[in-house]
Amino acid sequence: MSARDEILARVRAATADVTTPVGPRGATPVVEETSPGPGRTLDLFAENVADYRAEVLRVPADEVASVLASALRGRGLGSVVVPSGLDEGWRAALAEVVTVVGEGDAGSAANLDRVDAVVTASAVGIASTGTIVLDHGPDQGRRELTLVPDTHVCVIRADQVVHDVPEAVNRLGGEPHRGRPLTWVSGPSATSDIELQRVEGVHGPRTLVVVLAE
């Protein structure tokens, strides 16, 4: 008997006592927090993102381009990689202050390792946990773009921020996110492995800047 058939046979024998049908479950409590209002949800989002020691910039939507440019210049960064579908206006503003590398020209991960920063849009934000979810669509780029460079500047629109995790899971399970690879980011990379002392920045970007466009 193949390993597959044997494991399935063992599992079915082990659950022979089960009489409930597969699929429908009794009343499972759906645990969702209710948003106290859109404004409060955005405040909570900003508060929780900042709590991870990420920087949060709340700006009007039409100022995003200039804020991005000054965020990079202000950190003394010389180069930035951008996804192929990034907003043209943002890209142009960045090109005025730093060297912009397009996603298609980024090459291997080793090349990306020499780029200072990455600027992307995002898919969903979660207020109750301070999380940004990337679905790596055209305005966010393939996964290694937001992984290898040491600084990630990420723009999220107010309408992309949901209140809690169940709302986010629900949204991500539908179009256009369904089936895409997802990266959930809550603050910069961190470790507490040495004497439980928190150190920000191990392998992922050590600096995370979140631009909340309202």
Partner: protein, 484 residues
């Protein structure tokens, strides 16, 4: 519950002494006890704070347990569904009855790729099957990339905690091992390395980055495997997981069959329960979800090895199967008064603490000394059950397992002692005689703690008996009140 070994794991833990023996040794390590106390209390407090933020935490636990129960009670159906969705997403699915079979599958894939190294994401399943040793035997180096796992690997050590495996080591030891060992396996640690955690993390970043950028094959586990969408989920903090899951051309994930979740929506309770229970954060820094092969993004060859290795045996026990709900958060370790004092090594397995005390004897059977003793490595205080995000009733399982061990004739001295105690306690005159005997002994031993009572070895080996009083309550009563 069977007494035969049901899980074929490589024999590293064979010869492991029983828990009380190992615990006695662990208790003598003062530094380790300090570290553990600090770690368990710190994480415990963080967990309590973020759990308190969720008003419906108890309902959330019910939802989490419910999702796992649905998957486990219909595991055959969900495994077939998972296989079908993974395959539709371009992944190759393999099945492994035991550790040897899983290891052989991984070795064969790595060999076919012609590599002599793989990078690894921290994974309990691959530790359980001792994959690193199997790869090494095949001439393939397995680099652990989680900082704590790297530390453990450089020491040639064993993990002592599920979440923070190197918690038994302090910063100076870590600096020394980095300076001594990193150069032997790759980029050396900077010569002026200090024992500042930030500097140590930086050294690990540089050491591992070279390996991430070079590696062609990665090995991971998965925290969850969603049946209806064919999605695997890895929850982590450092970004080493993202590196392994994204950069290499080939990804092999070893996934225990109990990791299945029925539907995408079941991620909602799980992603709330796991980070808050585990690291005491609202959310862990990074979670990666992938559904097979994604065109032009990440590994273009994706393998999933579905591992049984004793799990179907655990599933057959209608009470015991709840242990398979475990999501490896380690909350039960951090609240356990026994774990806090002995640390993880005494449990003789990659699964330490309360969950290890139930899972190991279930997975491996109760044939060995250590597995017979593990169900007794608990005071049955119940803190683990309260902390468990998926409501595993660990004390109930411990009592069940104790029954199984006693029935198979293990811990004979203990049952003899219990029978003797029953005989004494059932008659007031016998009790009075026994108590007078004890006070005589008390006067003889003075203030010393009684560590061993002749004839009751197995019982008193593991328990220090308080010095008996010089007078029993009955004697005091008779003296003070004149009648007995």
């Amino acid at each position: 519950m069977s007494t035969l070994p049901v899980q074929q794991t490589s024999p590293t833990f064979v010869g492991m002494p029983s828990f009380p023996e190992a615990a006695r040794e662990a208790l003598a390590k003062t530094q380790q006890r300090d570290n553990l106390r600090n770690a368990t209390h710190t994480i415990r407090a963080k967990r309590a704070a973020v759990v308190a933020e969720v008003p419906e935490w108890e309902s959330l636990r019910v939802a989490g347990a419910d999702a796992k129960d649905e998957a486990l009670t219909h595991l055959g159906d969900y495994l077939e569904q998972l296989e079908a969705s993974l395959t539709a997403n371009g992944a190759t699915v393999h099945w492994a009855r035991d550790a040897d079979e899983a290891n052989a599958i991984v070795v064969e894939i790595a060999r076919a790729k012609g590599v002599d190294e793989v990078v690894k994401v921290k994974s309990m399943a691959t530790q359980e099957i001792e994959l690193n040793e199997a790869l090494e035997a095949a001439g393939i180096a397995a680099w652990e990339t989680d900082l704590a796992e790297l530390i453990v690997q450089l020491f040639g050590d064993r993990p002592s905690h599920i979440l923070v495996p190197a918690i038994h080591r302090n910063r100076t030891e870590i600096r020394d091992v980095f300076l001594r060992e990193m150069a032997k396996v790759g980029r050396p640690a900077p010569e002026d390395l200090t024992d500042e955690p930030a500097r140590l993390a930086e050294a690990a970043r540089l050491h591992l980055r070279e390996k991430f950028l070079r590696a062609r094959v990665a090995v991971s586990g998965a925290n969850f495997a969603v049946a209806d969408t064919g999605t695997l989920v890895v929850v982590e903090s450092e970004g080493n997981g993202r590196m392994c899951l994204t950069l290499p051309e080939t990804l092999i994930s070893v996934v225990g069959i109990e990791k299945v979740l029925p539907t995408w929506d079941d991620l909602a309770p799980m992603l709330q329960l796991l980070p808050r229970s585990s690291t005491g954060e609202r959310m862990n820094p990074y979670t990666t979800m992938w559904s097979g092969v994604h065109d032009g993004d990440g590994p273009q060859e994706v393998h999933v090895v579905l591992l049984d290795n004793g799990r179907s045996h655990v599933l057959a026990d209608t009470v015991g199967r709840q242990a398979l709900r475990c999501i490896r958060c380690s909350a039960c370790l951090n609240v356990c008064p026994v774990y806090e004092r002995t640390g993880g090594h005494a449990y003789g397995s990659v699964y330490p603490g309360p969950i290890g005390a139930v899972l190991n004897p279930q997975l491996r059977g109760t044939a060995s000394e250590v597995d017979q003793s593990l169900p007794y490595a608990s005071s049955l205080c119940g803190a683990c059950f309260d902390a468990c995000p998926v409501r595993i009733n660990i004390p109930e399982l411990l009592v069940e397992l104790r029954g199984a061990v006693a029935e198979q004739g293990g811990h004979r001295a203990e049952s003899a002692a219990m029978k003797a105690a029953a005989w004494v306690l059932s008659d007031p005159r016998r009790l009075a005689v026994a108590q007078r005997g004890a006070t005589t002994a008390g006067r003889l031993v003075g203030d010393r703690t009684v560590r061993r009572v002749p004839g009751l070895g197995a019982w008193t080996d593991a328990r220090d008996v308080p010095t008996p009083p010089k007078e029993t309550f009955r004697q005091w009563w008779a003296r003070e009140r004149g009648e007995s």
